[in-house]
């Protein structure tokens, strides 16, 4: 059991013949992901290492019954690629690309809402259910099947924290990257809702950062709806206001999106917030009685 992706996920790779697409096809295949189709306009009919390539997502879906798609195309073409996937009826669309114009992102989210597709990203490392399926660009070796759900806004920081968990014998049910942009498809709240329903997840780790109000919204949800324990770490305590800290979404504007507001609302909701990332492991161990 897991959320979003599992051993039955049938993946299509949009941009399979490109530089990123072909590298990560290999990595995902090594992890055991069922890659059933690739899409590369003009290259339909070819094969890449046994994976059939189609000109359109609609055709790929028709021929292979793929139900998830990962998009590796340059940012200016992402709106078109995402619309194509949504229109073809793909249930889960993972948008890896960074620098997608924010108005394109809003249009993608509106169309996805209309058709019932789930969008992860943009500017995400993807989704992984350890031991079953990886739809993303995260390094394969830090993940271990287990009972802690992880949801993060940033890639490397989540590799660091998940790597720490794995090293200490704490496995993960699913790890999801929301993406570092201002407008992204899924929020913490959406993932908490799924993890709450997922019987094999015992606890959830949230890795947040300054900017926006997703963590505050999550805190409200946790207070009202969650029965499972939630742990959090928020990056950017020492970042100055008005500066974009690498991610488009990580910026304190006026008095919005501050570290303090996030930590306070989470703590008020009963979330244990770690001051430093390495403290999460000890908190988890204590709570899950892992020796």
């Amino acid at each position: 059991m897991a959320i979003l992706v599992n051993a039955d996920t049938r993946l299509c790779i949009q941009g399979i013949t490109g530089h990123q697409g072909s590298f990560h096809r290999g990595q995902m295949k090594d992890y055991g992901t069922k890659i059933v189709a690739g899409v590369s306009p003009g290259k339909g009919g070819k094969e890449v290492e046994g994976v059939p390539v189609f000109n359109t997502v609609a055709k790929a879906r028709q021929e292979t019954a793929c139900n998830a798609s990962i998009i590796f195309v340059p940012a200016p073409f992402c709106k078109d690629a995402a619309f194509e996937a949504i229109d073809a009826g793909i249930e889960l669309v993972v948008l890896i690309s960074e620098h997608i114009p924010v108005q394109d992102a809003m249009e993608i989210m509106a169309f996805a809402r209309e058709r019932g597709s789930t969008i992860v990203g943009p500017n995400t490392f993807g989704v992984i259910t350890p031991g079953q399926c990886k739809v993303g660009i995260m390094p394969n070796r830090y993940y271990k099947p287990g009972e802690v759900g992880v949801v993060a806004r940033s890639g490397t920081l989540s590799y660091q924290i998940v790597g720490d968990m794995t090293l200490n014998g704490i496995g993960q049910s699913t790890v999801v990257g929301l993406g570092g942009d201002r407008v992204v498809g899924c929020d913490f709240t959406d993932m908490l809702e799924l993890f709450e329903e997922e019987p094999n997840t015992r606890a959830i780790v949230m890795i947040g950062e300054i900017g926006g109000s997703r963590e505050e919204a999550a805190a409200k949800y946790i207070k009202e709806e969650m029965t499972k324990p939630v742990f959090a770490y928020i990056a950017g305590k020492s970042a100055p206001a008005g500066k974009r800290m690498g991610h488009a979404g990580a910026i304190i504007e006026g008095n919005r999106g501050t570290f303090e507001s996030k930590v306070t609302s989470l703590e008020e909701a009963g979330v244990q917030v770690a001051q430093m990332p390495w403290q999460l492991v000890d908190m988890l161990k204590k709570d899950l009685s892992i020796k």
């Binding site: 940012a75 200016p76 620098h99 997608i100 114009p101 924010v102 108005q103 394109d104 992102a105 809003m106 249009e107 989210m109 509106a110 660009i137 995260m138 390094p139 993060a152 806004r153 940033s154 890639g155 490397t156 920081l157 989540s158 590799y159 660091q160 790597g163 570092g180 201002r182 407008v183 992204v184 929020d187 890795i207 950062e209 300054i210 926006g212 109000s213 997703r214 919204a217 990056a235 950017g236 305590k237 020492s238 970042a239 100055p240 500066k243 974009r244 800290m245 690498g246 991610h247 488009a248 979404g249 990580a250 006026g254 008095n255 001051q275 430093m276 990332p277 390495w278």
Partner: protein, 378 residues
């Protein structure tokens, strides 16, 4: 990307939204010459990319033509929040009967544009009480139809003649917001002057990621020279005021490194995200930039996923051999090919840590020693 006020107003004007008549000048003599045919009184406004310009004395008024050059001279000498005033905007002064607030921004929670309007314009919107603000989310598919504006204006209870004009303006600024890939279009105040409605001040921010669609727009940057240089290399960089230079891979990791440094009592000189998978050459260049800022110590914090630790190690060794590293340098290497990287560094006399906390603690210690020796910090 923030536009200067005069550019924002040019865009508004071009898109059919009334703005005051104005002239732009970059010198006192230009100001004098351009305002010769203008009616006084006028407002003379410094053009900088920071807010709070009025409070900082960046806006002046002139009743008579000869006062214009005097005010222009003063403003062109000013620095506001670190920004030097290079340009001024001289505008006809408009009679103010009422000041409104109108903006279109992006709401990340609803993932939609949001129209924000208020009868209480002229001040920062955050100072206006919630119950005086009308917010309306816009479906990106439909935009601001006239009925949407009517709903907003109905709540504001404006008079009929004004309402009609604001309805038109709302539609036009939404189109501008959409067509120019703006992140924010703000008119504050939107001034009611007799029977006319005029945009007296305006802010427009354009999405930098969409600039490829707007080749006609100028490139404006509020970054420091060094920030520009590093960003041209394709890395994300922000200058801060501490004494420990930092390089990390990934934005979240770089932010966390700042926090960890401060947890152990140090302070970061910058935020440098070397990104996923930076090459040896790029890593080397990034390191050279960091050293050029004369920090007391340098911390490199790498958790290699796509980034290969042996690449980081070889960049470091190259810099050490070619230019030397004049300050204490602490490196934390973990992840892809870390054993190889650590060994390479060891062979070249550089110790690498595996754990982030150990490395951070060490670099803070070394920076303090460095500061004592130089006598820079007490």
């Amino acid at each position: 990307m923030k536009l200067y006020e005069y550019m924002a107003k040019e865009l508004l004007g071009k898109n059919g939204i009334p703005v005051p008549r104005g002239e732009v000048a970059g010198s006192t003599s230009e100001a004098k010459q351009k305002t010769e045919e203008m009616d006084t009184p006028v407002a003379i406004k410094s053009q900088v990319l920071s807010g709070g310009r009025g409070k900082a004395g960046g806006i002046k008024f002139a009743e008579k033509p000869e006062e214009v050059s005097e005010a222009a001279e003063e403003l062109l000498d000013m620095k506001i929040k670190g920004y030097k005033v290079d340009t001024i905007l001289i505008e006809e002064k408009i009679r103010i009967d009422q000041e409104l607030y109108l903006s279109i921004a992006i709401d990340p929670v609803n993932k939609k544009p949001v129209v924000i309007a208020s009868k209480e314009g002229g001040v920062d919107i955050e100072e206006v009480p919630e119950d005086k603000i009308v917010k309306r989310y816009v479906d990106p598919k439909w935009g601001v139809d006239p009925y949407v504006s009517r709903e907003i204006l109905d709540e504001l209870e404006l008079d009929q003649i004004v309402s009609k004009q604001v309805t038109k303006i709302m539609k036009k600024i939404y189109d501008l917001f959409k067509n120019y890939d703006a992140e924010l279009v703000e008119i504050n105040p939107l001034v009611v002057s007799g029977e006319k409605v005029v945009a007296a001040d305006a802010k427009i921010n354009i999405d930098e990621d969409a600039l490829f669609r707007h080749k006609d727009l100028p490139k404006i940057s509020d970054k420091t020279e060094l920030e520009k240089k590093v960003e041209e290399m394709g890395l994300s960089f922000v200058e801060l005021d501490g004494d420990i230079a930092i390089m990390a891979n990934g934005a979240g990791m770089a932010m966390t490194t700042l926090d960890v440094i401060s947890y152990f009592g140090g302070s970061a000189a910058n935020f440098l995200d070397a990104g996923g998978g930076a090459s040896v050459e790029l890593t080397k260049q990034a390191l050279e930039v960091l050293l050029s800022t004369n920090p007391n110590a340098v911390l490199i914090n790498i958790f290699g996923g796509i980034t290969r630790c042996d690449d980081v190690a070889s960049a470091l060794i190259q810099v050490k051999n070619e230019t030397g590293i004049p300050v204490p340098l602490v490196i934390r290497l973990m992840g892809t090919n870390d054993e190889k990287g650590v060994q390479m560094l060891k062979d070249n006399g550089i110790t690498a840590y595996r754990m982030m906390d150990e490395a951070a603690k060490k670099v803070v210690e070394l920076a303090k020693e460095g500061a004592d020796v130089d006598g820079n910090i007490g």
